[in-house]
């Protein structure tokens, strides 16, 4: 008879913490071709404009966040939040942990439906010279800078997993991609990404707080 | 001619240069007792059984391409009778028995190879479902064996038993299932039907039906002229809706593309037919050594005999999950065939509302194994104007009567059957 012991804890964890190992993965004979990290400490709200309420939602967005709501696939750096297009008449509000939901509730009351997703999604960051090569193996989108510039965004599927993908500000002259994925699919996607990037050498940073 | 060891020796002595045609290439006559539209396995088997069992020999089989150009040469060659539901189970077993005597019946080597069909299960629930299926088969006198993991290991030690996501718990084996050489099946039926007087007319596309004042079908219009017929049977699965539309009929059928694959030849690996229970993937190994495999239909209406990449990926993923050993094997060829996807996943063999017009359709992607039984039952229907006992539930009006035969319990969404 196997004894099962389950330790319950209130300590904060993340969808990837069970398998996460910071340090080098894959090829080690050269410098790491890319860097991957889980991003934490964010608040995420899905905003879906109600029928006929897109203009009002857009107006409210301008007033509350100082920027137009994204009406096409891109991400908008707004006041204290990143607005990421996620579909027609809908977008995500990503902000550092705090009053994100309350702020969205006050801004969009009566015109849009909100859904709190902070613990429902996992956020991954991929950066470095070979990040496009890694993504080219698993993502069917053309991520060439000419068609996928900084702050371009897309809702797509990677390894049969729905992903919101966007490109943020370059770091050290190299592209930085963010992938937002359902929390329960994060582990599977993480393995797929690591496998795909192994030949380039992957440096895995310690999980860090998300910043726009 | 009759094929035998003597004919083989005789032909060998002349350097195999004097083999006669396997069947004649006749000009179409003006009038036949029966015209079968479609020179695939089902149409040819129907013509053979019309001539052989019912003495109706003034028969033409019209084929728009050549014998073997359609689904007859595009399937993955699997034969089995491991069905669950009344209506299917007896029919497919009758068909299985016809496979077992086919080569002597037709005097043709169809390379029928009863190497076993093994359906794997990966969960307790799936085991229970297969136990039920196996019991239903045994009640109907069909061989079936429920294997545990050790039993499967004995047959196929190379499978990925300890796959973390889909560990193999066991399988349902039908030892009498297996494969047959699909081209040889149509060549054999063509040969045997031709010998009994049936005209097999290739490159002859049906473009319409001729009808009398009462609406009765009196023949077909073709790319080679009008041909009169006492009765017309349609056996053009994949294109049934198009042909039926020429007679003003709409069918409970959608046409979908199914892809199949063959790898480069490798040493003998796979003992019989193996199907993955946690994805859609089935595989066998041909006598030449190639792995012959397939999976799901592409899922959208299509009359193109080619599919798209997502399903190629899906099928290969299924294969890799089941047997990672094939990871370095290269694909040799890949193609598509058009399936009559019916609304309950089961076929239709019935008279139509049009007098003199008979329909054999809706085989989804299970038509090959049904070839001999389908021909037998369809010939019975055309010759006697009554349903054969084993095909009696394949009625065209069963959807109106609520008498569906839905093995998957999927409902009227054909791309999910």
């Amino acid at each position: 008879m196997v004894e099962l012991s389950v330790e319950l804890s209130w300590a904060e964890t993340t969808p990837l913490s069970r398998i996460y190992a910071a340090g080098r993965q894959g090829a080690k004979e050269h410098d790491a071709g890319l860097t991957m990290a889980e991003q934490t400490g964010f608040e995420l709200v899905q905003v879906m404009a109600r029928r006929g309420q897109w203009s009002a939602t857009d107006q409210a967005c301008k007033e509350a966040y100082g920027a137009s709501a994204p009406a096409k696939p891109h991400a908008v750096v707004a006041q204290g939040a990143l607005l990421v297009w996620s579909g027609p008449d809908q977008f995500l509000v990503l902000s550092p942990r705090g009053d994100g939901l309350e702020r969205a509730r006050l801004a969009f009351a009566g015109m849009a439906s909100l859904s709190e997703q902070s613990d429902g999604r996992s956020l991954l960051r991929i950066s470095g010279a070979r990040s496009r090569d890694l993504l080219a193996k698993v993502c069917s989108l053309d991520l060439h800078p000419a068609v996928f510039p900084q702050w371009a965004a897309a809702a797509t599927s990677i390894d049969h997993t729905s992903v919101n993908l966007w490109r943020s500000t370059d770091r050290d002259g190299e592209a930085v991609f963010h992938l937002l994925v359902f929390a329960t699919f994060a582990e599977s996607l993480w393995h797929t990404l690591l496998d795909s990037g192994a030949e380039y050498g992957v440096a895995i940073d310690a999980p860090g707080a998300w910043q726009a | 001619m009759k094929y035998s060891i003597f004919s083989l020796a005789r032909a060998a002595l002349s350097g195999h240069k004097n083999w006669p045609r396997t069947w004649r290439d006749p000009e179409p006559q003006k009038q036949y007792d029966v015209v079968i539209v479609g020179g695939g396995g089902h149409g040819l088997a129907t013509a053979y059984h019309l001539a052989h069992e019912h003495g109706i020999r003034n028969v033409a089989v019209l084929e728009k391409g050549w014998i073997g150009s359609g689904n007859a040469g595009r399937n993955t060659t699997i034969i089995r009778s491991n069905y669950l539901l009344p209506g299917n189970i007896g029919f497919y077993e009758m068909s299985m028995k016809l496979w077992e005597t086919m080569e002597s019946d037709l005097n043709y080597n169809a390379m029928v190879s009863q190497r076993g069909v093994l359906n794997l299960y990966h969960s307790d629930a799936q085991r229970d479902a297969y136990a039920r299926r196996g019991n239903a088969m045994r009640i109907n006198g069909i061989d079936s064996e429920l294997l545990d993991q050790a039993g499967v290991r004995k047959l196929a030690p190379f499978l990925n038993f300890d796959n973390a996501r889909f560990p193999i718990q066991g399988g349902l084996l039908q030892p009498r299932g297996g494969t047959a050489r699909h081209d040889a099946v149509v060549w054999g039926y063509a040969h045997a039907a031709d010998k009994l007087g049936v005209d097999i007319i290739q490159n002859c596309e049906v473009t319409g039906f001729t009808r009398d004042a009462n609406g009765k079908v009196t023949g077909v219009e073709t790319s080679r002229g009008t041909i009169g017929a006492g009765k017309v049977g349609i056996a053009v699965a994949g294109n049934s809706s198009r042909v039926a539309a020429m007679a003003g009929l709409r069918l409970p059928i959608e046409s979908h593309v199914l892809q199949a694959f063959v790898s480069e030849g490798i040493k003998p690996l796979i003992p019989g037919v193996i199907t993955f229970g946690a994805g859609h993937f089935y595989v066998s190994q041909s006598d030449k050594g190639g792995l012959v495999f397939g999976g799901d239909i592409d899922g959208y209406n299509s009359y193109a005999q080619r599919g798209n990449l997502p399903v190629v990926e899906d099928v290969c993923e299924g294969g890799m999950a089941l047997m990672p050993v094939i990871g370095r094997v290269r694909l040799l060829r890949q193609w598509g065939g058009i399936m009559d996807m019916s609304m309950d996943g089961s076929p239709i063999i019935d008279k139509t509302p049009v007098d003199g017009l008979y329909l054999n359709a809706g085989w989804c992607y299970g038509g090959f194994k049904a070839t001999p039984g389908s021909g037998f039952v369809f010939a019975h229907l055309i010759a006697r104007d009554e349903l054969h006992r084993e095909g009696a539930r394949f009625r065209l009006d069963r959807f109106q009567r609520g008498a569906m035969i839905d093995e998957k319990g999927q409902g009227a969404q054909p791309n999910l059957h």
Binding site: P88, S140 | S241, R250, I253, N301, L309
Partner: protein
């Protein structure tokens, strides 16, 4: 085959799920059994140009009406249908 989603741009067809012919319309509740039989079970099963419903489940989750040739897989037009974002749908 790639489908140009009006919201996301051209995407591989693996991102989409297929419903089928866009033509059948649900009959009125009192239309009778024949009408429902026709709606549920019978199909034109067109060989050629056909309007059909696809769902972009692997992307923006919009329902789309696609005009496509079932013989060549050529796609002529893609439009959003009701439910796919009120602002762009005419009816």
């Amino acid at each position: 085959m790639r489908i140009a989603c009006p919201f996301c741009g051209p995407r591989e067809n693996g991102e989409f799920s297929y419903l089928g012919d866009a033509k059948p319309k649900r009959p009125a509740p009192d239309a009778g059994q024949d009408a429902f039989y026709d709606y549920v079970y019978l199909r034109d099963n067109v060989a050629g140009e056909m309007e059909e419903l696809w769902y972009h489940g692997g992307g923006c989750r919009s329902w789309l009406k696609v005009r496509r040739n079932t013989v060549t897989h050529e796609i002529f037009s893609v439009e959003p249908v009701a439910g796919a974002g009120a602002q762009k749908v005419a009816s």
